[in-house]
């Protein structure tokens, strides 16, 4: 029986951390998807590799060095995007290259200090997390989710229409920075669960899965939290039953959920096509002059 696995404390810890990450990551991801920055999580994930390597090199706890390095990278990227002519995707490309190279370079220097551990950060190592790490995830996740829920209208405004937000007098630069720093925190905290290379999956997949059925931003946000919870919970249970890495299982279940809902959404749209939700306004004029009937 599957519940037998959870008499082990390490399984309880794994499930708890995965559920927290699944619940909280989409609260950040929904803004990233709206800002069309879905890949930023992956970019910061590559930078997190450098952070982990700094941890190996200095002997400090990798969670904290990763946090410092990804937050710094997020700040630099936002400054590049806002102050120079560098476009968002170029800044993102720099994160991918620089982060990966930095990680490999620094682990090369620190080759005698636990390079074997790098893989557990690349692909996640839920099962070896201790209680202190689990609490870091719980506290970090709660702070991130609370911030995103409270600031939802303001963050929506800057992500949907940055120029309008600027003319409204909103603190656009500060909010942009806050969003990127929060992303960095989410990446560093959740790398335990799904691993650096897969971390952006939990930011993005629950959001793009539920938004095929939702009409409002608010509903998308809450539904994606639910979807994230289900996907990561199902992932941990499946991986326990089959003895495979939880990170990859969570992501595969998420991708499958997305593909399935995309098909279902396309089908429902086809069925609904006959009864349109929004008829054109009454008596909307034809925009052309019809030739007079002969």
């Amino acid at each position: 029986m599957i519940f037998e696995y959870f008499q082990y404390e390490f399984m309880q810890r794994a499930l708890l951390s995965a559920l927290v990450v699944g619940l909280c990551a989409p609260t950040v991801g929904v803004f990233l998807v709206q800002k069309r920055l879905a890949l930023i999580g992956d970019g910061l994930g590559h930078v997190a590799l450098t952070g982990v390597a700094v941890g190996f090199l200095t002997g400090a706890a990798p969670v904290w060095t990763t946090l410092a390095v990804t937050v710094a990278a997020a700040v630099v990227m936002e400054l590049l995007r806002a102050k120079s002519k560098t476009s968002g995707d170029v800044a993102l490309a720099m994160l991918f290259y620089g982060g990966l190279a930095g990680g490999v370079y620094l682990t090369g220097i620190a080759s005698d200090k636990g390079i074997a551990n790098l893989q557990q950060y690349l692909f996640g190592s839920l099962l070896t997390a201790g209680w202190s790490e689990v609490w870091t995830i719980v506290v970090g996740g709660a702070v991130v989710a609370a911030l995103m829920l409270v600031l939802r209208p303001w963050l929506t405004a800057i992500c949907a229409d940055e120029q309008y937000a600027r003319v409204s007098g909103l603190p656009v630069a500060a909010l942009n920075l806050l969003l990127l720093v929060t992303t960095a925190v989410t990446v560093s905290v959740s790398m335990r669960a799904v691993g650096i290379l897969l971390v952006s999956a939990l930011l993005v997949i629950p959001v793009v899965t539920v938004q095929q059925f939702t009409r409002s931003f608010k509903a998308t946000m809450f539904a994606s939290m639910g979807a994230g919870l289900l996907i990561s919970g199902a992932g941990v249970l499946t991986s326990a039953a089959q003895d495979v890495p939880p990170g990859a299982t969570i992501v595969l279940i998420g991708v499958a959920a997305f593909v399935a809902t995309a098909f279902i959404a396309a089908l429902t749209r086809r069925v609904r096509r006959t009864r349109r939700g929004h008829l054109p306004p009454e008596g909307e004029p034809l925009e052309v002059e019809l030739p007079a009937k002969a």
Partner: protein, 254 residues
């Protein structure tokens, strides 16, 4: 004291002056159109007024305060040049319009009753009260444009700045919008409107400022329609779905 006073404004993009020494003043309750051909610098000037592009020279005062020190942005309603109201994640019309109230709310605080009422009232003004809970990406282009105008109205502005608000909007909706704007003008709201076509909205103008090649070439009575446009029986129709067919827009952008 004018609500907007632009003196000798110069704006350049990469060393090329697009607006050259333009003066523009709008008095309280006045409706002014900024007109000119594509590329004349009218959109750039209005972006400078909104603080979206920096000035290379000259000065802009909003409600008597130099723009750099101006903080009361909630007194200004802004309708950007048409981009569509939809974005990456579904949002309802009411959610988009409520962005117009954020300047009135303290960061992180829930909306008050006044905020919710302003959103409902603005949606009703543009005739979309029944569509408040619809996702904006299911609305037509003209309806999306009306959502953006409602968002600016929700601010309860004293100055309404609109960058070509009726491009791609059918004639009937244009007339309805003109009535909405006229009601706001009657209530004392000043309007600065960028447009390059005469239509229902331009009937209520007090003044027109015409730009050519970045310079003000006319500041006074709004131009009157000439040729077949002056014919009262002339039906203002457009052969294209996006409502205008001037050559600069041939490639779908500006």
């Amino acid at each position: 004291m004018p609500v907007l006073n632009v003196r000798g404004a110069t704006v350049s993009y990469g060393g090329r002056a697009v607006v050259r020494g333009a003066d523009l003043a709008v008095a309280p309750g006045e409706a002014v159109a900024l007109m000119g051909a594509n590329g004349s610098g009218k959109s750039t000037l209005i972006k400078a007024v909104a603080g979206l592009v920096p000035l290379a020279g000259g000065s802009i005062e909003l409600f008597g305060t130099p723009q750099k020190r101006f903080r009361a942005w909630k007194r200004i309603g802004y309708v950007p040049q048409r981009t569509g109201a939809a974005s990456g994640v579904p949002s309802t019309a009411a959610e988009v319009v409520s962005q117009g109230r954020l300047a009135h709310r303290a960061l992180g605080m829930p909306p008050r009753r006044g905020d919710r009422e302003a959103v409902a009232r603005s949606l009703a003004e543009v005739g979309l009260a029944d569509h408040a809970r619809c996702s904006v990406d299911t609305l037509s282009g003209g309806q999306q444009q009306r959502v953006l105008i409602a968002r600016a109205l929700a601010t309860d502005p004293e100055l309404l700045i609109m960058d070509e608000p009726t491009v791609g909007v059918d004639a009937e909706t244009q007339a309805a919008l003109a009535a909405v704007i006229a009601a706001r003008v009657d209530a004392g709201c000043a309007v600065l409107l960028v447009t390059h076509e005469l239509g229902p909205l331009t009937d209520r103008l007090d003044r027109a400022v015409v730009l050519a090649d970045g310079k003000v070439v006319h500041d006074g009575a709004p131009p009157r329609p000439v040729g077949e446009h002056a014919d009262p029986a002339h039906e203002h129709v457009h052969p294209h779905a996006n409502g205008h067919n001037d050559s600069d827009d041939l490639w779908g952008g500006k």
